[in-house]
Amino acid sequence: MGSNKKYSGYKAYQYLEPGRDYKEFKLRKAVVPEWEYKVPLSKKEEERFEAFVVENIIVDLHEHPCQYPEDLNQSPDLPHEGRQFMAHEALSVSGLDVVFDNMLDGRCTINTKHGWDWMSTLHDLGMRLCDIAHQDFVIHCKRVSDIYDAFKQGKLAWIAALESATCCENEVDRIDVLFGLGVRSMGICYSENNLLGGGMGEMNLDVGLSDFGYDCVVRMNKLGMLIDIGHTNDRTALETIESSKDPIYNSHSGPGAIADGHTNGDEVLKALSEHDGLVGIGGAGYGLKTAKHPVGSIESYGECLEYCINLMGIDHVGCGPDSLYGDHQAHYAAFARRSKIDGYGHYERPGKKRRPGRFPKPTDVVDPGYVRGVENPNEFVNIARWMIKHGYSDEEMAKVMGKNALKLLERVWP
């Protein structure tokens, strides 16, 4: 990140009166010292790391950079309030220059139980933009030039991203509306199927891109909307890659060949790179689990990063950890608990087998309950520390931590 950070102390929604204008939640501290882990570096390596972060444009392809409630039982209640509390202060020392904020995504349940509806999506976006409009450090990034400006001025370029196009229902024009309102990256579908294609969480993973999904891909190409295959199944991913005239990306994934978690198979990853696309290595709350590192951490992250670099080439890999400023695993657990009492209407489907984990955790390995080393957006730069430790050059690191993403945006955005 360019030095000269322009953060002047702004806190989310401080132009309003808590309680009177919005329901207050006691939020957990953004970064918890007990959970911090930095890849240890020698003094010289430390100097190299500092210089690297200052000199290069650091692009985080997938985060939810907001504070979450201290009492995670309240997690499902916060979306009902319709406001996410961006962690402005934490972000100001994160080292990030660009962040793709995927907002409430699957938890965009502002107006409905299952979220992903048009009204809730607009509400989420509008509210976040109103917050951002009242301060000066985070800028709403809509063009590549905004990124260069942010870097020069010590600001953070904030990109509004949606993990799925479900809110568009069957209306292509809604993509135009979202683009106009400031969204610059959109997923095809979430883990569930929608009208565009098949999600990775379904029992039947054979569902590909629908005809309507194809219409949407064409429209997104015309608009200059970046397409994300973050939660699609592999077939939908492949068909999207084939159908898009522009290169696309998977903002948060990993190599299914060696990892459990949120992943794509080799075929998808190779197709992505062959079409000039990008994969952001992800992980979310449980991280990526491998045989060598059966508990998700910066180590398993690095292993997956390396695998993809070897498979796809250094020009086609980036980073999108999909973390947040709160207890991510407890957040999942809270939703799981509430789904049994809040009337979500989910049932155990006969024949739908839970995909067993391939890498059981040995009894002597500690699972801390979070992805150690890539636990929140401030640990993004830890990936650079890992890469230094593992012999990558500055040029290679610059590509993975930002330049590859910039190249993609330069090609896709208008």
């Binding site: 204008d21 607009l122 509008g126 509210m127 933009l129 109103c130 409009a133 024009d173 683009f179 309102l181």
Partner: protein, 412 residues
């Protein structure tokens, strides 16, 4: 407007395929009735310099072309895409313009719905995002930058807060999505207050007050152009920030409910607000100048400068790039044929001030308001008229934009 205009020929939605991605309508020439107030050679040179040096802002425009065949209007609205007449705007000299979204009846019969508004706003923004001459204006710096780089700052606004129903938070969402000014209500009442056309004036509601308070906190500029007298007064008194009457005039010269009485105008100015004088067909006709045009309009401007002070008057032409009279006449027809549910309310013994003269014959005779008919000519013609009538450079600069800019600085 600064020279070096950056318009490079972009047409709305040219990143899409007509017919396939959007329904095509044959538009009327946006400048079919373009007319500039005649000046002598020296006056011409002077006005050119004034326009070049100063920031020009029209407080109320609708910079969209419309169908040649006015009977297609409803179908065109339903398409949900407003086009912008970029080439016409490039000839306007404007640096800033407030573009007021209204009913946006893309989907429902009476319009003014939340989802229609967001669709219309988003679609317009998408168009603007694909070119570089019109820039989305979010703050005062954007207007200054537009002036310095030969572009136009486009300020999205809504004529009435009807779309928010009874939800205060929606004001913030609108601000986030780009809206910078909100009218309290239209000529019909809504949950915030009484509209100017209503029989009984009950002023600002309690919910309306909650909205005024929230708009002050968020930094939204409040507009009362279509509010009743009491609603306007309540809003002026209760708003911590100065407010806007983007497109009105004086009832003293035009005795209709559409105009404000002197006490409202004086109160508006006393609290630092600005009045934009308007020119929709027949709105600002006067006894002295019964055919609506630049002369009757400038009578309003002069009266209000005298009453309120030159710092509080501006231009809010409410001009169109398509047939305004035609739209009124079509609207009158639709009220009887499009099943919108308008019923004739019997006289309940309360005397209503007449609204703007909408007699079809009068409108047909007028045809259009010469000199103030479209955004390209309106503000320029005000400057030209004022040059010819001996106003100073400073006075002209204030009326054609500086007053507006100062108001934005105080509120945004």
């Amino acid at each position: 407007m600064g020279g070096n205009k950056k318009y490079a020929g972009y047409q709305s939605y040219s990143y899409l395929e007509p017919g396939i991605d959007y329904k095509v309508f044959k538009f009327r020439d946006p400048l079919a009735w373009f007319w500039l107030y005649p000046l002598s050679k020296t006056e011409e040179e002077r006005v050119e310099e004034i326009i070049e040096k100063n920031i020009l802002i029209d407080l109320h425009v609708h910079p969209n072309p419309g169908p040649d065949d006015i009977s297609q209007e409803l179908d065109w609205q339903r398409e949900g895409r407003k086009f912008i007449a970029y080439d016409a705007l490039a000839r306007s000299g404007l640096d800033g313009m407030i573009d007021w979204l209204g009913p946006c009846h893309a989907i429902t019969k009476r319009g003014w719905k939340w989802h229609e508004l967001i669709d219309t706003l988003g679609m317009g923004l998408c168009d603007v995002e694909h070119q570089d001459f019109v820039i989305q204006c979010k703050n005062v710096e954007d207007i200054v930058e537009a002036h310095e780089t030969g572009r136009i700052a486009w300020i999205p606004a809504i004529e009435s807060a009807t779309h928010i129903e009874n939800e205060v938070n929606r004001l913030e969402i609108l601000y986030g999505l780009g809206i910078r000014s909100v009218g309290i209500c239209f000529s019909e009442s809504n949950q915030l207050g009484t509209g100017l056309a209503e029989m009984r004036d009950a002023g600002l509601t309690d919910f309306g007050y909650d909205c005024v308070a929230r708009m002050n906190k968020v930094g939204l500029l409040i507009d009362v152009s279509h509010s009743s007298d009491l609603t306007a007064m309540d809003t002026i008194e209760l708003s911590k920030d100065p407010i806007l009457a983007s497109h009105v005039g004086t009832r003293t010269l035009t005795p209709t409910s559409r105009m404000f009485p002197d006490d409202v105008l004086v109160a508006l100015a006393e609290r630092g607000g600005v009045l934009g004088i308007e020119a929709p067909p027949n709105s600002t006709v006067t006894g002295k100048n019964p055919i609506h045009g630049l002369e009757s309009f400038m009578e309003h401007v002069e009266y209000c400068i005298d009453l309120m002070g030159v710092e509080y008057v501006g231009v809010g032409s409410d001009s169109y790039y398509f047939d305004h009279v035609g739209e009124y006449l079509e609207g009158q027809k639709l009220r009887k044929t499009a099943g919108m549910g308008y019923a004739k309310r019997p006289d309940q013994g309360i005397k209503r001030l007449p609204n703007t003269n909408m007699d079809p014959e009068s409108l047909r005779r007028l045809k259009y308001v010469k000199g103030l008919e479209n955004p390209t000519e309106a503000t320029q013609n005000v400057a030209r008229w004022m040059v010819h009538h001996g106003y100073s450079d400073q006075e002209i600069a204030k009326v054609i934009g500086l007053n507006a800019l100062q108001l934005f600085k105080k509120v945004w």
